[in-house]
Amino acid sequence: MAPTAEAVLEIRDLVKHFPLTQGIVFKKQVGAVKAVDGVSFDLYRGETLGVVGESGCGKSTLAKLLMVLERPTAGSVHYKGQDIYKLRGKDFKAMRRNVQIILQDPYTSLNPRMTVADIVGEPFDIHPEVAPKGDRRRKVQELLEVVGLNPEHINRYPHQFSGGQRQRIGIARGLALRPEVIICDEPVSALDVSVQAQVINLLEGLQNEFNLSYIFIAHDLSVVRHIADRVAVMYLGSLVEIGTDQQIYETPTHPYTQALLSAVPVPNPVGRGERERILLSGDVPSPADPPSGCRFRTRCFKAADKCAREVPLLEVRPGSPHPSACHFAEIKPVVDTVDA
C-alpha cells in the first residue's frame, strides 16, 4: 500500500460559497455560507487520505465539489493535469468514470424501485464502452462477488438487504467503472460496530486489489486512523492541519486537532479520569459569519490578539514539522500511543 509520489488529484484554493438571499421577487444577496473556503491538497496514487472534522465543517461539500456535483466559486482541481471544472463533453465523461463516490446512508442512496442489477449496472448505461450490453449481467454478478454478496441475489431489491449489505451494494456501484479515485463520504458511520469492521476490511482489500486512491471522509477518528495514510483536519471550511497519520495522531500541532483527539473517548477504562482532556467551550460558529483572522480563535485555548488580525496559513512552522494553520503551533501529544 506504499503510496507513490504521483498525484492523481491536485486541489488548489478550492472555494465554495452558497449565497444567502433575501426577498421573494427581487432576490438580493445578503451574504454567503462559506462552506469550503480555500482548501488545497494533493491525493497520491494508491493512498488513503482521511478528512476529519465536525459536522458543518465542509467535508461533504468538498466531496460534492470533487465529484463535480457542485461547481466551485473559485479554485481548481486537476485530475492528471487537466482542470476538471473546465472539461466538457467526452473528456468530462472520461474523468467522471475515474472518480466515483460511496455515500453515507445506504438506506437513502439506493433507489428502492430498482433491483441490484439495475443499481450496480446503471453506470454501464452511461459508459457503455466498459461493458457491452450482453455482458452486463455477468459483470454485475462479478462485482457482487467482489464485494462479498451472493451473485444470485442480483434480482433483489434494496429493502431485502441489511444495512451492511446495502453499503456493499453502494461499493459495488462505485467500483463498476473501475475508477482510480473513490471518495468515501462517511461510508461506515451508519453501520453497527460489528458490521463496520467488515466494510472497512472490504475497502482496504479492494484498495490493494485495484490500486485505488481513497479520500476517506469521516468523523470517527479511530476509523480514520486505522485506514488512512495521511490525514487532513478541517474546521469551518478550511484545513487546519495535514500530515501522515502518525504526525496527526501522535504529534498534532494545531490546538483544534489536539482538542478533537483528546475528546475521543478511549475504549479502555484503565486510567480514566486521569487523562488530560481539552474541553472546548461553545459550538462551531456559523460558516455564514466566520470569525476574523483564525477561524478557530473563538474556541481556542491559545487565542491571542494576533489571531484576530492575521489568518494563519497552512504551512510548515518552527513548532510544526508538518503543515499546520496556527500561529502558535507546537507539538503536544494528547493520545497515548499504546492505548487500547
Binding site: 477518528l221 476509523v223 486512523r225 486505522h226 478511549v266 475504549p267 480514566r272 472546548l280 459550538d283
Partner: protein, 315 residues
C-alpha cells in the same frame, strides 16, 4: 410475510443502585431502547406489549401500578432523555414553557414561577444567556444546546433515576465530551442512578460503573467495567472489543464478527449468538438456551463455554 411477533426483549434483568452508572451496550435491534421504554412506561402499545416481568422501583412494581400513579413517578422519580433532541422537543412551544411544564404539571406552580425555575435550570446546564433564550424555540438552538435543554427538563424534578438513550450519538465528539461531563457532574451532585444506553464502547469505558451487554433482546454479559474490558466472558463482547480499530493493528485486517444480527421475528434456536460464534459446539449451542451463568463476583455470562472465553487463550 408481515405477520408475527418481534421478540425485542426476552428476559432482561438488571438492578441499579443510587449514584451508580449502568451502561446498556448493544447494536441496533438488540432491545436496549425497548427495555428502557418499558421501564419508563412509554412503550407504544399496541402494538408493543409486555407478556411478563416486573420493574421494581424502591419495592413498587411499576408495571402493575395504575397509569395515574405511574405518571407521578415518571418525571419525578424516573426521567428519560433521548438521542434526537430535535424530535423529542415540541417545535411549537418555547423551551422555557417546555421545561416549566414539569413544574406546572407536577408541582402546580404558576406560569411565572415555572419560568423562573426554567431559567435557573438552563443556567445549571450551562446554556449561555439563559434569561434571553428562555423564550426561544427548539429550532433556534444547536444540537448540543438542545440536548442540554432535554437534560434540564429531565432533571427538573430531581429524579432518582435518569435513563439516557444514546444521548450523544447525534453530536460531534467535542460536544459529546461537554455533554458527558455535564451528565457526570449532575449525577455526582444529586446521587442519581444513571442508565446509559449506547453502542459506543468508548463512552462506556469512560463513565460506566457496570455494563450489561445485550444481544437479540437478552443480556449476554454483565460485569463491572474494568473486568469486562480486561477480560470479556462472552464471545459477543469479545468480538465487539476486538473489532475496535487499534493503533497497533494498523495495516492489518480488523477482526470482524461474521454474519449479521438476527431478525427479531426469527431468533435462532438455542443461544441466539450461535450462528456467528467462533466457540460454537453444534450439539449444545443450537439447542440449549444458555442462562446467565455466574462467572465471578458481580459477573454473569450467557455462554455455555464461558470458561473457555474467559480463559482468553483463543484470542
Amino acid at each position: 410475510m408481515r405477520g408475527g411477533v418481534a421478540r425485542a426483549v426476552n428476559g432482561v434483568s438488571y438492578t441499579l443502585n443510587p449514584g451508580e452508572t449502568l451502561a446498556v451496550l448493544g447494536e441496533s435491534g438488540s432491545g436496549k431502547s425497548v427495555t428502557a421504554e418499558a421501564i419508563v412506561g412509554i412503550l407504544d402499545s399496541p402494538p408493543g406489549f409486555i407478556p411478563k416481568g416486573e420493574v421494581r422501583f424502591r419495592g413498587d412494581n411499576l408495571l402493575a401500578l395504575p397509569e395515574a400513579r405511574r405518571r407521578q413517578i415518571r418525571g419525578q422519580h424516573v426521567a428519560m432523555i433521548f438521542q434526537d433532541a430535535l424530535s423529542a422537543l415540541n417545535p411549537v412551544h418555547t423551551v422555557g414553557s417546555q421545561i416549566g411544564e414539569m413544574f406546572r404539571v407536577h408541582r402546580g406552580m404558576s406560569k411565572a414561577d415555572a419560568r423562573k425555575r426554567a431559567i435557573e435550570l438552563m443556567d445549571l446546564v450551562r446554556i449561555p444567556a439563559a434569561r434571553a433564550r428562555v423564550d426561544d424555540y427548539p429550532h433556534q438552538f444547536s444540537g448540543g444546546m438542545r440536548q442540554r435543554i432535554m437534560i434540564a427538563m429531565s432533571i427538573a424534578l430531581d429524579p432518582d433515576v435518569l435513563i439516557a438513550d444514546e444521548p450523544t450519538t447525534a453530536l460531534d465528539v467535542t460536544v459529546q465530551a461537554q455533554i458527558m461531563d455535564l451528565l457526570a457532574e449532575l449525577q455526582r451532585e444529586r446521587n442519581m442512578g444513571l442508565i446509559l444506553i449506547t453502542h459506543d464502547l468508548g463512552v462506556v469505558a469512560d463513565v460506566a460503573d457496570k455494563i450489561a451487554v445485550m444481544y437479540a433482546g437478552r443480556i449476554v454479559e454483565e460485569a463491572p467495567v474494568h473486568e469486562i474490558y480486561a477480560n470479556p466472558a462472552h464471545p459477543y463482547t469479545e468480538g465487539l472489543l476486538a473489532s475496535i480499530p487499534r493503533v497497533d493493528m494498523k495495516g492489518q485486517e480488523l477482526y470482524a464478527i461474521k454474519g449479521l444480527p438476527p431478525n427479531l421475528m426469527h431468533i435462532p434456536s438455542g443461544c441466539p449468538f450461535h450462528p456467528r460464534c467462533p466457540y460454537r459446539r453444534d450439539d449444545v449451542c443450537t439447542t440449549k438456551v444458555p442462562p446467565l451463568y455466574d462467572v465471578g463476583p458481580a459477573r454473569g455470562s450467557a455462554c455455555h463455554f464461558w470458561e473457555e472465553v474467559l480463559d482468553g487463550s483463543n484470542r
